[in-house]
């Protein structure tokens, strides 16, 4: 039996950020949904499960503050990653998450390939849907954070801005939350886990490594680039520790189940959503 070779795809800090955002986002989603549907039995049940309206509200606030601080730390991390000497390649290069022309080409190639034209796009390190998800979260965080803080301290905020901004803030907070939940629990889950080789749980984000064979199919341009630069030997890693694997499988299944429960119940109860 030959051993499979693994390639390191995510560093420890990437995985830590991901686990952090999974935990805080789940907290925000569950507590937030309990407010959104508080007039229905779903909201009541969720609220009761988490210890009543006030406790849920407290949890939501704590989660929000944690999320904002995590986001600020993430921005510091991003700034530390910018290489000032080769500014152009470090921002618009293939290792960066900033969308570039190649993504548009990949997207059009992929859409054409759905209709039988052309071949599949050769994707580099980050696919365009991953970039879309990342920037979706990146712009959603400040929006949710700022409106959330406004709603947290209405009296303080209203010593400066007129009260109708709170109406708009509440609307934006809800709408953005619904957008985030539906994007993450439908599309992000789909891209992450609903492929023949990965179903039902994609380990890459937890173990940080992917099999080389798999990677050659999914990210051919990246593997090519690594081989050309001779960096591929540096990124080779061993198989993940089985005990760690058990741990993250439990965590991953729990998160998936939680997400699916929320999105299915949310769609079921969506007729009660009022955006006012």
């Amino acid at each position: 039996m030959t051993e499979k070779t693994y390639i390191k795809r995510y560093s420890k800090i990437h995985r830590l950020f991901h686990i952090f955002i999974v935990l805080t986002f789940m907290n925000q989603a569950v507590t937030g949904f309990s407010f959104l549907f508080i007039t229905t039995d779903l909201g009541e049940k969720l609220s009761r499960l988490l210890g009543g309206y006030k406790t849920t509200f407290f949890l939501h606030k704590v989660g929000g503050v944690l999320m904002i601080s995590g986001f600020l730390i993430h921005i510091l991390y991003l700034l530390s990653k910018i290489d000032r000497r080769n500014l152009k390649t470090s921002i618009f290069g293939p290792d960066s998450l900033v969308p570039n022309l190649q993504d548009i080409k990949n997207l059009s190639q992929r859409v054409l390939s759905f209709f039988g034209f052309g071949s599949l796009p050769k994707i580099d390190r980050w696919a365009y849907w991953e970039k879309f998800g990342y920037w979706g979260v990146f712009w959603g965080m400040p929006l949710l954070g700022i409106t959330g803080v406004m709603l947290m301290f209405p009296l303080l905020i209203c010593s400066v801005v007129p009260g109708w901004t709170l109406n708009v803030a509440a609307l934006l907070h809800r709408a953005e939350a619904i957008l985030a939940v539906s994007y993450l629990f439908i599309i992000h889950f789909f891209f992450g886990h609903f492929s023949l080789s990965k179903f039902p749980l994609n380990e890459a984000m937890f173990s940080g490594r992917v099999e080389l064979e798999e990677l050659m199919e999914e990210r051919p341009a990246w593997v090519e680039r690594l081989q050309k630069e001779g960096k591929i030997e540096l990124l080779k890693a061993k198989a993940p520790n089985p005990w760690y694997r058990v741990l993250y499988f439990i965590f991953g299944y729990a998160a998936l189940a939680c997400g699916f429960y929320i999105i299915i119940k949310g769609i079921d109860y969506s007729r009660y959503i009022k955006l006012h």
């Binding site: 599309i187 492929s195 009022k274």
Partner: protein, 282 residues
């Protein structure tokens, strides 16, 4: 080379810094005055206050009615000297002409409603008033977070009978003192700016909201279109990707699995035009 780069970046930072300061100054100029929680106010906006001083124009609710005596809301009458007189005997500030004479009480222009909003008793002269509920007429005002979430009823804010119109000078609901008399009963320290929160929010998607609360309207439609656009693009995209993967595994091109309903001849021409690709070797 390096020095020039540093020099250049310094000028860039300098320009950005100055720009930021100017932007902040402009923002501060256009912000309203800091809110006041216990005072009577006319308008929190400096610009509007200046305009009022310049033109001498004031809204009806800002002007005391023509009487030299106080008005007791609790007892529902006027004080004239030591004597309390019922509302009916005194002259109203505004008269409501033709109230409820016709089948439909609200006129098409809304003039009667506007006049009613200045009366000491907003519902004076309405037939069967005692037998009806608030939301029978004020159906739009049933939309309220306070009712939905906190279970607050109309009377807890609008007061007992006679309910004074919100723009009557002595009404606790008058924007001059609403924050102190109504909002601050629960939201301790509420100021005039806080009281500008719109309790009876309009339906955000409705076209009438475009006129009454445009920011709300556009914010709502922006978010709704963003959500629909994202879903409309990515759900078919991911489904197609899944089907494509299935097709690849079976060694077929996209045409066979995605378009099973295409007629045979057309399919053949398509295949001639776009020849079948070999399955990826494993």
């Amino acid at each position: 080379m390096k020095k020039a780069f540093i020099k250049k970046s310094r000028t860039v930072y300098f320009v950005f810094g100055i720009g930021l300061l100017i932007g902040l100054a402009v923002l501060v100029m256009y912000l309203p005055d800091p809110g006041r929680s216990q005072e009577e106010v006319v308008s929190p906006y400096i610009t509007r206050l200046r305009e009022r001083v310049r033109t001498g124009y004031q809204e009806g609710y800002e002007v005391k009615p023509r009487m030299s005596v106080g008005y007791d809301l609790m007892k529902g009458g006027y004080y004239e000297g030591n004597e309390v007189r019922p509302i009916k005997r005194t002259r109203d500030e505004f008269k409501a002409p033709g109230v409820l004479r016709d089948l439909f009480p609200v006129s098409s222009t809304g003039a009667e409603v506007r006049i009613r909003s200045h009366l000491p008793d907003a519902h004076a002269g309405i037939k069967f008033y005692q037998q009806s509920t608030c939301t029978e007429c004020h159906s739009r005002q049933a939309r309220s977070f306070h009712t939905d979430r906190a279970g607050i009823n109309c009377r807890q804010c609008h007061g007992a009978e006679p309910i004074p119109a919100i723009k009557h000078y002595y009404s606790p609901m008058n924007p001059i003192r609403r924050h102190a008399y109504v909002c601050a009963t629960c939201h301790e320290g509420a100021n005039d700016l806080f009281a500008q929160y719109i309790i009876h929010e309009p339906a955000p998607g409705a076209l009438t909201t475009k006129e009454s609360f445009p920011v709300f309207f556009y914010a709502n439609w922006f978010m709704v279109l963003l959500l629909l656009g994202t879903m409309a693009f990515f759900i078919p995209h991911s489904l197609m990707m899944f089907l494509q993967e299935l097709a690849m595994k079976k060694g077929k091109t996209g045409i066979d699995i995605l378009f099973p309903l295409i007629p045979h001849r057309f399919k053949a021409t398509l295949r001639k035009r776009f020849p079948k690709k070999k399955a990826p070797e494993k």
